[in-house]
């Protein structure tokens, strides 16, 4: 009944181990041992395997050799939110720090726009949104992570458009209605037909696609097409080299009132910058027929014709100094810098033609040309570039009205061969604005698309489709010229949509300049 719990009635002593058990100290020692094991793992990992023990994940393979050297990227205690400061990235990724550097935030504003003023404005307004490199390019995502691939949410932090389908605005060139005007007498429809026929005749690819790609030839990277050039694309049919000019009266140096062209000898004797090409010209191309001169063959951009047109222009427009250096007319839209770019290009083409010539006079004149190039650049940087600058020689005396009409007449005749395709105004051949890059802020890779679809499936401006047979295509009623043939965004969203082809921002847009280096050019050309 009465359960006496303990066995013994005697009070036996219970030792201190009852109150202060030894196992308590043992547990603490065991704890210390476990800590020691963890620290040993730390040391082992760092020294033997060269892995960052405290790293929260493997770094991408690009940075793998630095994995255990945390402080190459991390600036200890730099900031609460981010210790990978931009200057750490800049050690290898040059130009990430300098203003307008490739990877700089300011560079992002300059990108594509090419307008430094835009940079200042944007920095003032959006500079607070600036994030360090490490914010978007997160490391420690594993060896195979591609940290250059950034998610849309990062772009959407600043840019409003957070989706491609439905939220992306129409392309700018569609919105701003750049005039469908290539400044040439050219129609796609007509030429497509002709190229098809020709290809068929010559046993080449006689499909429509083959016709497109006859002129629009992909560059090595496949992304863009090589610029359309006369010699490569048009020359096969146009100006095969057999044509000759009309017979022109020759200019009399002694009689300024007489209207006429300059002969080769005259040009060589003149040696003005811009005429030194004449030294390379073959005199046998010129024929004196009585007192008149004719040239055969005529080349595209034939220098003799161009130089004579320039000569005529000097008579007609004595104050157009800079245009003295131009091959064609240029509408200098404000701030696009095309005027001086064209002048530079002209001068550069002259100097290229003369390099290698042994004559010392040529070397002196090359120096002159080079100094002209520099002067133009400086003037552009200083903002003093205008049409009136850079007269290359004494201007002709003012001409009489009668002479003027004769000069116009002469110019028309000189440009006759050109008029087949070109427009000539004021004695200048109008510059051709073909084949322009329409995307200023995005990138488009043709090769990736051409393997899946045909040219005409997207470029639907030409009323011929790949579905038609050749017969049908060629019998299409055609009217009007149609140059501008670039589709709007609706065309893209057919494939680039959720659950279809990639519709992330990074598919077309880049934070930092792309390989085409267009930004570099803009940076250089801005003079900074």
């Amino acid at each position: 009944m009465d359960k006496k719990g303990t066995f013994s009635d005697m009070r036996l002593g219970v030792g201190k181990d009852y109150i202060f058990p030894a196992r308590r100290s043992k547990m603490i020692i065991a704890g210390v041992i476990v800590v020691a094991v963890v620290l040993a793992a730390y040391v082992f990992d760092t020294k033997v395997f060269d892995i960052g023990f405290t790293s929260p994940g493997a770094v991408s393979s690009n940075h793998a050799i630095f994995e255990s050297k945390c402080e190459l990227c991390h600036d200890p205690f730099a900031s609460v939110t981010n210790s990978v400061t931009n200057n750490k990235c800049a050690v290898c990724h040059e130009n990430s720090l300098s203003e307008l550097g490739i990877y700089s935030f300011a560079g992002h504003y300059l990108y594509r726009s090419g307008d430094p003023a835009r940079v200042e404005k944007a920095l003032a307004e959006y500079g607070s949104r600036e994030k360090p490199c490490a914010h978007c390019h997160e490391e420690h995502q594993g060896r195979n992570a591609r940290i250059s691939v950034i998610g849309d949410h990062e772009c959407a932090a600043c840019h409003e458009h957070d989706a491609f389908v439905g939220a992306h605005p129409e392309f700018e060139f569609v919105r701003s209605s750049i005039p469908d005007d290539s400044t040439m007498k050219f129609t796609h429809v007509h030429h497509t037909k002709l190229v098809v026929q020709r290809n068929e005749k010559l046993g080449r690819d006689a499909s429509l696609e083959g016709a497109c790609q006859y002129c629009h030839r992909p560059e090595a990277d496949g992304q863009h097409f090589a610029p359309i050039e006369f010699d490569a694309h048009c020359g096969e049919c146009h100006l095969a080299g057999a044509d000759a000019t009309k017979k022109f009266a020759v200019k009399d140096p002694g009689d300024p009132t007489k209207v006429g062209v300059e002969t080769l000898a005259m040009l060589i004797a003149a040696r003005k910058p811009g005429t030194l090409w004449a030294l390379n010209t073959n005199p046998n191309e010129f024929k004196m027929i009585g007192p008149k001169i004719s040239k055969k063959p005529i080349y595209h951009e034939d220098p003799w014709i161009v130089e004579n047109l320039r000569m005529i222009r000097r008579h007609l427009y004595p104050d157009q100094g800079l245009s003295d250096l131009l091959k064609t007319s240029v509408e200098d839209f404000a701030g696009t810098g095309e005027l001086y770019a064209e002048a530079i290009r002209t001068l550069q083409s002259y100097s290229e033609g003369l390099r290698g010539r042994p004559e010392p006079e040529v070397q002196t004149d090359l120096e002159t040309i080079d100094s002209l190039i520099v002067a133009v650049r400086n003037a552009a940087a200083a903002g003093t570039l205008d049409r009136a600058a850079f007269a290359t020689g004494p201007m002709a005396a003012t001409v009489s009205d009668e002479m003027k009409s004769d000069l116009f007449d002469l110019a028309d005749k000189l440009a006759q061969a050109c008029l087949v395709c070109h427009y000539v105004e004021d004695g200048m051949i109008r510059r051709v604005r073909a084949d322009q890059r329409v995307f200023t802020r995005g990138e488009f890779d043709h090769r990736a698309h051409l393997v899946q679809t045909g040219c005409l499936d997207c470029h639907t401006g030409i009323p011929i489709t790949t579905a038609m047979t050749q017969q049908e295509a060629l019998s299409q009623a055609i009217d009007g010229s149609f140059i501008q043939n670039v589709p709007g965004i609706d065309n893209c969203t057919q494939c680039h949509a959720p659950r279809k082809a990639d519709d992330s921002c990074a598919t077309c847009h880049f934070m930092h300049p792309n390989k085409s280096g267009q930004n570099e050019e803009l940076v250089r050309s801005s003079g900074r």
Partner: protein, 541 residues
């Protein structure tokens, strides 16, 4: 040698003073005697009955004190182990609650309040403001006031004079004083501590009779007046009854009435517990118990004249009873039918309970366990639920850390139905451990029912440890040695100092007992009383 003797005497005196040390800083004390010599004691008529040898033994626990007028000696609710005998002067006894409070000055005996107050009110550094509260320390349903020493009319005080004794019942029973004592004039008092008091009662029938007579005069009448049995009886009858009743004192385990033997009267329990057993089969079953106010013998006397005891009644520890003779009882029942029906009711209740215990042996077992393990006597028993206890011993550790590194109990004890009744002090109603302490080191702590040992006074005699029926007192080696001085008996000098320690309920800590606080599982509870224990066992709480 002479010096040594002088030193010994000196230190004995110091020890003597220590016992009365709590009086040292009080105002109001005019003089406190040094240890009174036998001759001095003989001058006082109280000690007439004792021989010199006895007086020698008594003298360390007796002091003669002279008090200023207007000194409050003790207040209601104080626990004191001192009885007072007025030699000269007069003392007022009154109930503070009914008196104007301006009369209450700081009491002398027991600085601290004796109620179960929040210890925040308890400023152990200095005397706190007095806050009187009446404590009714009873188990069951009686409304006795434990020691109503005085026949106090509602508004007035009782004035005691030369030859009067007061405070002895409180001292002996350990219950709180129920009235306040204040000196009216300059008084010379003999102050007798409990060890001496008990010896005096034992040795001198005259003293015992004197004390009993005092009780009869002062306490019995009001107690009888509030006895449920006698409610409604007129004063005259009760007064006459008061003169005729016997006062019975029982030693531990003394049998009051044996089953089968003739019943000699109606007993009312005045203090202590009485165990009732019956023969069942070959053995003896505990069927019930009687606390204070319980009646014994009702059934026997009602059923037939000269009836015999139905139960064997034995006193658990020391108890005091009142016996009313059979004829007086018949008188009572004849005059007051209400009393008769009440008596019947009590008898029937007892028979029911006893019957229940006989039918359900586990109830009997529970009662017996409760009686034996001190559940009835104890006010705060540490019970551990073994179904929950993870044996982590944090309770012991908590006790140890609160008490300087040695615990006051071990997690051992009797098991009852999956509960461990540990041998941490039960803080009994009638602590046996108090008896015989030569220095007064063990005493009530004056906060509730807590019994504590004051280490400075303890000499390690083990009397309390041997007395405690529950083995709750632990002799602890303090790590020091008894100094090599003349006051210490030669045999003891240089030996390890082993002092008695026991649970003190952590009464100075407002957060409560450390054992309960430290238990991570919450399975250690301090249980006061049988009903609480029943609830805990049934897991009702």
């Amino acid at each position: 040698m002479k010096n040594a003797m002088k030193d010994t005497d000196q230190l004995k005196l110091d020890q003597y003073r220590d016992r009365w040390s709590s009086l040292g800083e009080m105002s109001g004390l005019v003089a406190l005697s040094e240890q009174p010599s036998v001759a001095k004691l003989k001058e006082i008529d109280l000690f007439d009955d004792y021989d010199n040898k006895m007086l020698e033994k008594l003298s360390p626990d007796i002091s003669l004190a002279t008090w200023e007028p207007g000194t409050v000696l003790f207040e209601e609710g104080a626990y004191i182990d001192v009885a007072f005998y007025v030699v000269k002067g007069s003392v007022d006894i009154y109930l503070q609650g009914r008196r104007s409070p301006s009369a209450a000055a700081a009491p002398i005996f027991d600085q601290n309040r004796t109620m179960m107050i929040q210890t925040a009110d308890l400023d152990l550094e200095k005397k706190p403001a007095p806050k009187p509260e009446k404590k009714k320390p009873t188990p069951q349903n009686t409304i006795f006031l434990s020691t109503m020493d005085f026949n106090l009319p509602a508004e007035d005080a009782v004035r005691l004079g030369s030859g009067d004794v007061f405070g002895e019942i409180g001292a002996m029973s350990g219950w709180p004083q129920s009235a306040t004592a204040k000196t009216v004039t300059k008084c010379l008092l003999v102050q007798i501590r409990l060890p001496a008091l008990r010896k005096m009662r034992q040795k001198s029938k005259a003293f015992k009779n004197k004390v009993d007579a005092i009780y009869r005069e002062r306490s019995l009448l009001p107690q009888l007046r509030v006895t449920p049995l006698l409610t409604g009886c007129d004063d005259a009858f009760i007064e006459s009854l008061a003169g005729k009743v016997d006062l019975v004192s029982c030693d531990p385990d003394q049998v009051i009435g044996a089953e089968g033997e003739p019943c000699d009267g109606l007993y009312i329990v005045r203090s202590g517990f009485v165990k009732l057993t019956q023969k069942v089969g070959e053995g003896e079953l505990v069927v019930s118990y009687l606390p204070k106010g319980g009646t014994l013998g009702a059934a026997e006397l009602l059923l037939e004249a000269g009836g015999s005891w139905i139960y064997t009644a034995a006193s658990m520890e020391n108890s005091e009873l009142i016996r009313i003779s059979e004829s007086d009882l018949r008188d009572l029942m004849a005059k007051y039918p209400a009393a008769r029906s009440r008596l019947w009711q009590a008898a029937v209740d007892l028979v029911k309970e006893a019957g229940g215990s006989r039918r359900d042996v586990s109830q009997s077992e529970f009662l017996e366990s409760a009686l034996e393990k001190g559940l009835l006597q104890g006010n705060s028993i540490l019970v551990i639920d073994l179904d929950v206890c993870t044996r982590c011993d944090d309770c012991v550790r908590g006790c140890a850390q609160t008490h300087g590194g040695t615990p006051r109990f071990l997690r051992e004890g009797d098991k009852y139905k999956g509960f461990l009744i540990t041998r941490a002090c039960n803080h009994c109603n009638d602590p046996v451990c108090l008896v015989g302490c030569p220095t007064g080191a063990i005493r009530r702590a004056a906060v509730g029912e807590v019994v504590e040992i004051v280490p400075d006074l303890c000499i390690g005699c083990r009397t309390c440890a041997r007395n405690c029926p529950y083995d709750s007192i632990v002799m602890n080696d303090t790590g020091m040695k008894w100094p090599d001085s003349a006051a210490v008996p030669e045999a003891k000098r240089g030996t390890p100092q082993v002092l008695a320690t026991k649970c003190d309920l952590c009464y100075t800590d407002p957060a409560g007992p450390a054992c309960v606080r430290s238990c991570p599982q919450g399975c250690a509870v301090r249980v006061g009383g049988v009903d609480e224990f029943r609830k805990v066992v049934a897991r009702e709480t």
